[in-house]
Subunit: 356 residues, 2 copies
């Protein structure tokens, strides 16, 4: 078994802490270590360091290696250009040159997990289902009618004694009413974006659903480590569409009954926004004000303070997120944290690219 | 006629912009120039510069003179120690050595006025009433049931054609229900802390209601500009109680029918807190988001951003005050702006005196 940690995201919704030069996964958002370091450390009970690969953009290979001294440097793979998760997973699979009957765990580098033991148990369960040839995803029991996650409609159990089930279908991020109906109706899980599959099963799915990607991977495999090969890899990947695993692989595989889902109940969050981080940390810490840095409060609730070097004083706030960085400050309503992304365009236009 | 601008306040409720070294009146909170500069400039239509005096703490004399190059340097008077407004007004009166039949205007240095013409008209009206021997205060028509201001119960008109009236009595800052009843009932004005009186009338009131202060002033008068006299002034003032004009002079004078009130309707605010500043600026500018510095917003209302050098981005906030300074950041609910004062003790204790 081996793992591919997907560290190619930008995390722009976590501006102003997340920047082009310091993307989300490299930040210590939830504790002393970065999300990437936590993701790799979380695999410690399942895998040896040389079985853990990280794929990130070429620009962040050095910083990623620096954060993960326990991994062989060659296990940190640089993507010459960003083409979403299916391409990244394919590239990492080929570059890792693992046996086709091995199980690969595919994990985003920037998620939060409160209960590490239950998380490891879920990965083990997913690996067992994957050994039987399924493409397996981890599904999270919804705690509220979130509109920021994709949903999985759960199908028949694979075995009466096993919580693993077939995936009926994937649903893209629904609106609030649909999400509420799913919550009411039951039988729906959040799509965590964490997968397990046998290498051959994945390659086979790529061939079937993404033939252009499959062709590219075959060509890259042939090139492997010839002189100047990364430049060739770039040329090969350049014409590919950006294809996510969810849309490009998992959705069509589910339609053909090849996808299974294993439930994950471990205080998981994808920290897709500041409000998701607030929610994850307040749940994990059992309090409604979460602060880092030098901070004093009087009577605030549902507040996240991501502090820097300055003293931050909050008074009487409710549902507010404060992110303090040396050159930019964000103060945002918890309900409106998703609106940061459109603001970034305006920032680039009026305040300057240097803030991104 | 002459004016005494009272610039002895600390403005701790406007932390973290207002600090020990840079008190409220020296800050540009409402525009390009400081509150002190605006207060002095506002007197320009009434008085020549050499008839305008400023009394401030000895520590701020230099900064005050720097901000007011149009005044003779000797018109900026340094108080050797802080003993509240009655002592400061008495000291300034004695140090200014004006004739006893001249009218003195007494104005706090740190107020905001939207309509300068109506303000000057009200001062002229107050001066006319003061010439007749009254101690005159400016009273502001309440716009809401504020609990941060003292109230004046208005008595009989002095003359049917003149809005000036006797002061029935002063009421210290009331609770919310009492303030609401005053608003309902009518006949109450906010106490602006702006006064006009003839010099002899003030000295007479000091003799009658504050004999210890009167004795101190007589001794200081005799000392005037003898060698080392400021050290003697300090020794003379040291044993005096801190006595405000409101409590020490105006209240007992009202009880004896010596106080008159002239209405002031000029968009006045004492900017006693960040929420008062927000209210004053939104009313003056006709918008519900007031920001200084580099700032971007998406969908916020009732927000004050007092920015510094950094980019400040606000998203979806309602009723929030943000004050950004190089070493400290305040994010405060508009409703809880008064709670900053108790927080300062905690800041001193846990974060350090250097933040004050």
């Amino acid at each position: 078994m081996y793992a591919i940690v997907m560290a190619g995201g930008a995390g722009t919704r976590l501006w102003p802490l997340s920047r082009r030069g310091a993307p989300k996964q490299l930040l210590a958002l939830t504790g002393e270590t970065s999300l990437l370091q936590q993701t790799v450390s979380r695999l410690g009970s399942l895998l040896k360091p040389h079985d853990i690969y990280v794929i990130t953009s070429a620009a962040h290979v050095r910083a990623t290696r620096d954060q993960l001294p326990q991994l062989p440097p060659d296990n940190v793979l640089g993507e010459p250009l960003a083409r979403s998760t299916a391409v990244a997973a394919g590239l990492a699979t080929v570059l890792a040159r693992r046996e086709s009957d091995e199980v690969a765990l595919i994990l985003p580098a920037d998620h939060f997990v409160a209960d590490e033991d239950r998380f490891a148990d879920a990965l083990r369960a997913a690996a067992r289902v994957a050994e039987r040839g399924y493409l397996v995803t981890l599904g999270v029991a919804p705690t509220h009618a979130a509109t920021g996650y994709g949903y999985i409609r759960v199908g028949e159990r694979l075995h009466p004694d096993d919580p693993a089930a077939a995936v009926d279908r994937f649903v893209e991020k629904p609106d609030g009413a649909t999400a509420a109906a799913y919550l009411d109706e039951g039988g729906h899980l959040w799509n965590s974006g964490i997968f397990a599959w046998r290498t051959y099963a994945f390659r086979q799915a790529v061939e079937r659903f993404q033939p252009a990607l499959a062709g590219a991977l075959t060509r890259i495999e042939a090139l492997h480590r010839t002189p100047g090969w990364m430049s060739d890899v770039r040329d090969i990947c350049e014409p590919l569409d950006a294809i996510s695993i969810d849309v490009g692989i998992a959705e069509p595989a589910a339609a053909e009954g090849r996808m299974a889902v294993v439930p994950l109940e471990a205080g998981w969050s994808d920290i897709g926004s500041w409000s998701a981080l607030l929610e994850a940390l307040t749940a994990a810490q059992g309090k409604d004000l979460v602060a880092s840095g030098r901070h004093l409060d009087r009577g605030s609730h549902n507040v996240l303070v991501q502090g820097g070097d300055r003293l931050v004083v909050t008074v009487g706030l409710d549902g507010v997120i404060i992110v303090d960085t040396p050159d930019a400050l964000l103060v945002c309503s918890r309900e409106r944290a998703e609106d940061i992304k459109p603001v970034l365009d305006e920032i680039a236009r009026t305040a300057g690219e240097r803030y991104l």
